[in-house]
């Protein structure tokens, strides 16, 4: 294996800038690694060797400089890439080549970051395991018989398998953080509105948040700084300066958390974390206390309703958003033999093109938005969302950040949660409250349980993304990083 694939993004960027190594060599090393291991990992749905090498050459030619210039990246297949297939891991978009780039993708290109390819995910980002991908699951590099998390399992697995030093994910209910946790990598969900949704194929528009994934906290912060910031093409984009997450990560790495108050959510205590996850979390908390942090118990009584509220709000928005897949403007059209009406063709197209979890959520959302049920389900869920937001606001009057395990369980074996969809939903128990509130949160590896990675989650107030990076980097300095067995 080439050593270049083992280096951090920060290290690669510095070596490329000093011309110790060329961007083309770095891109080639990662493309070769993908060619060598991705048959077993299946992190990628599409690899763009030619495009990545051309982008790397522009950096070597001195056309582009910048903090991550020449560092290759993998992009979740839910963000549009001009001329490069984009499927959202759905059959309904098989072969679609978007005519435009997402804002995030445009920023990566402007930063001189070669895009290696598009990563696997649960279809339309609905799931926690990649088992709902129409193109087959991604295998966790820690144990190829286990799930890599979801929906962004491809991005997280690409990092853990050393196929890419950085990746882009999207987080609607935990789709960046939970895959990060179960693959021993770092995943950050920025403040909602802090990163642009333009070109992100919509699942639940009030929750969808693109964000950075890396193997170290500093790398993740560097990528955060490249992609974040106001975008006039996204009307929910926040018009404020992005907090200096890179400085915060470097401050945290000094290992001093004196005066930082960590909030422990009382209501999460009895919530069914596996014993190994609970133990790794407790040990990490003790490590943070040794660095000077103070632990304060806080009460967030409405967090117990976050999962039910989310599984009404997200499917409702999805049922509306996915109406655009009608077999007219892009993607699959099925059953159009000249005898059938538009409505019949549309219904056949959608039944053939969507997988089971997407159909379940469309039907559930249609139900929750039906007149007669609207007030009891969608309307009530929106009120609960207000109460959860108030819980966060009152907690942040007492503490700087909230902490919890990222997900209640380590990577589970394939097939163990697909027969009962609600069992899959429980993977998001600790990540969902943040999405409803809109604040930032990060998952950072904190230990192993039965040889599998455990993630530690840090949640911060909206537009205080820097705080979570400081605490995450401090934890990383105390517990180190975790390397999977050789593939």
């Amino acid at each position: 294996m080439s050593d270049l694939t083992r280096l951090s993004a920060a290290d690669l960027a510095s070596r490329i800038a000093k011309r110790e190594v060329s961007a083309v060599e770095v891109a080639t090393a990662h493309l070769d690694r993908i060619a060598a291991v991705d048959e077993r990992v299946h992190a990628f749905l599409h690899v763009d060797r030619e495009g990545a090498l051309a982008a790397a050459k522009r950096v070597d030619d001195g056309e582009i400089t910048g903090p991550l210039a020449g560092v290759p990246i993998a992009v979740k297949d839910v963000l549009t890439t001009k001329g490069i297939p984009t499927t959202a891991a759905s059959k309904i978009l098989e072969g679609w080549k978007p005519p435009y780039d997402a804002t995030i993708v445009e920023r990566l290109k402007n930063a001189g970051m070669p895009i290696l390819g598009k990563t696997n995910m649960d279809e339309f980002a609905m799931g926690s395991s990649t088992e709902y991908s129409a193109y087959g699951p991604t295998n966790n590099p820690w144990d190829l018989g286990r799930i890599p998390g979801g929906s962004g399992g491809g991005s997280a697995a690409a990092l853990a398998a050393y196929e890419a030093p950085l990746a882009i994910g999207t987080d609607t209910g935990g789709s960046i953080r939970q895959p990060g946790a179960v693959t021993g990598t770092v995943g950050a969900k920025p403040t909602y509105g802090g990163t642009s949704r333009y070109g992100l194929i919509a699942f639940s528009s009030s929750l969808d948040t693109p964000g950075p994934c890396g193997r170290t906290v500093e790398d993740t912060a560097l990528l955060h700084a490249v992609i974040a910031g106001h975008d006039p093409r996204d009307s929910t984009s926040i018009q404020q300066a992005v907090p200096d997450v890179v400085a915060a990560a470097r401050l945290g790495a000094t290992g001093d958390l004196t005066g930082v108050k960590l909030g422990l959510v009382k209501e999460f205590a009895g919530d069914g974390s596996e014993p190994g996850v609970a133990a790794a979390f407790r040990e990490s908390l003790e490590a943070l206390v040794k660095l000077g942090a103070e632990v304060v118990e806080v009460s967030c009584p409405n967090f117990q309703y976050a999962l039910p509220a989310y599984y009404l709000i997200a499917p409702s928005e999805c049922s509306s958003n996915l109406a655009r897949f009608d077999g007219v403007r892009y993607g699959l059209r099925s059953g159009d033999d000249g005898s059938r009406s538009l409505e019949e063709v549309m219904s056949l197209t959608r039944d053939e093109g969507f997988g089971p979890e997407v159909k379940r959520r469309i039907i559930l959302g249609t139900y929750a938005l039906s007149s007669g049920y609207y007030d009891a389900y969608y309307g009530q869920a929106q009120k609960v969302r207000t109460l959860i937001t108030r819980d966060f606001q009152s907690a942040f009057e007492q503490v700087d950040v909230l902490v919890s395990p990222t997900t209640p369980f380590v990577a589970f074996p394939f097939g163990s949660r697909t027969s009962d969809p609600y069992q899959m939903y429980l993977a998001d128990l600790f990540t969902i409250p943040t999405n409803l509130y809109g604040g930032p949160a990060i998952s950072v590896p904190c230990g192993l349980a039965e040889g599998l990675p455990v993630g530690f989650q840090i949640m911060a107030p909206t537009m205080a993304d820097d705080r979570m990076y400081r605490v995450a980097a401090a934890l990383e300095s105390a517990v180190g990083t975790f390397t999977p067995p050789a593939l």
């Binding site: 005519p99 309703y305 109406a323 009406s341 379940r360 139900y367 009891a376 609960v384």
Partner: protein
């Protein structure tokens, strides 16, 4: 008692333009019943006087200056269409649907 019947699921699938099979209906009805019974817990919260939150960013009416900027060409906009004809999206017949 079931929160949702097989007939209701069939009706919702029609509204959603999903031509689900009989086998799918059997499977989804049971699964959706379990999910609905779980999410119905939101009803336990006393929230009569609580305003709803549709969105975490309190923004309304975000405007931009009305300046024309380049957009997709007609060819680009049609490039992903399953069927196009003379610069337009071509669709199956839409009249006489009930006939």
């Amino acid at each position: 008692m079931a929160a949702i019947s097989r007939e209701e699921v069939a009706h919702l699938a029609r509204l959603s333009r999903l031509a689900v099979t009989e086998e799918e209906l059997d499977r989804f009805a049971g699964q959706l019943d379990v999910i609905l019974q779980s999410v119905a817990r939101v009803g336990e919260v006393a929230a009569e006087d609580i305003p709803p939150t549709s969105h975490s960013v309190p923004l309304t009416n975000v405007y931009r200056d009305d300046v024309p900027t380049p957009s997709l060409t007609q060819d680009e906009a049609l490039s992903g269409a399953p069927d196009a004809y003379e610069g337009r999206f071509r669709v199956p017949r839409i009249l006489d649907e009930e006939a």
